[in-house]
């Protein structure tokens, strides 16, 4: 890892993958629960650790269908513990004004948020739309 920035946060710029932005047809997947509370929890946690352009980085982690990763592969191999998920296109996120950063290992991305407020999270959930059942969830309960 690189050294922390002046304000102590880890610059996300040191953790970006050197690759082209995802094509507009790429599917972006967020595992459940698809709740405002869960997104706020994630975004606030992220801002305690990472910065983006020198400011605390509020963001939400997602996976995307890039490279050899299909939707089924992501749901089966990475989101197997999630009962539900929601998906949207990279184009949909772009058109809604969101920045999608290729961070850490593929197929992980961060959707950058303006802040960690519930209203901001709710707006992002609106872009993803309806939650779907994950057919690969290893159910028991």
């Amino acid at each position: 890892m690189s050294s922390a920035s002046g304000d102590g946060l880890e610059p996300i710029e040191a953790h970006l993958r050197d690759e082209a932005p995802p094509g507009h047809a790429v599917v972006v997947i967020r595992g459940g629960p698809l709740s405002v509370e869960k997104l706020v929890e994630h975004a606030v946690r992220q801002a305690r650790e990472f910065s983006c352009a020198g400011a605390p980085m509020y963001s939400v982690s997602v996976d995307a269908t890039v490279g050899s990763w299909s939707l089924d592969a992501i749901l089966r191999d990475r989101l197997w513990s999630r009962s539900t998920y929601a998906a949207c296109s990279a184009a949909g996120l772009h058109d809604a004004g969101y920045v999608l950063l290729a961070t850490h290992g593929s197929p992980h991305y961060d959707i950058v948020l303006a802040d960690g407020e519930p209203a901001t999270a709710a707006t992002l959930l609106g872009v993803f739309g309806t939650a779907e059942v994950n057919p690969f969830k290893r159910r028991r309960r």
């Binding site: 953790h15 946690r45 305690r48 982690s61 997602v62 028991r140």
Partner: protein, 93 residues
């Protein structure tokens, strides 16, 4: 921080998609219900009350924002683990 929904109590919440360069999920220790339980090698209930997961504590690291905990999510539903332990009479109920 309360983590009880429908009887499920989470030791330390996590977001299974929130990983860093290690590939492991990470959270902060002060999010734990009982931070004393979160030690390297410990097995904890993580995730969230809707979809809890079993996880092994990999490491604790001092960071400017707090103590960062890396978790390795263990395969399988926690209930399946409990069933196996019960079959082996390693659980009383």
């Amino acid at each position: 921080m309360a983590h009880q929904v429908e009887g499920v109590e989470i030791d330390i919440p996590c977001d299974v998609q929130q990983v860093d360069d290690t590939g492991d999920v990470w959270v902060f220790l002060d999010e734990a219900r009982d931070p004393a339980r979160v030690t390297p090698g410990a097995i904890v209930i993580s995730g969230d009350p809707v979809d809890p997961v079993l996880a092994r504590v990999v490491s604790l690291t001092e960071r400017p924002g707090g103590i960062k905990v890396h978790l390795q999510v263990l395969p399988g539903d926690p209930g399946d683990h409990a069933d196996a332990l019960r079959r082996a009479h390693l659980l009383s109920a």
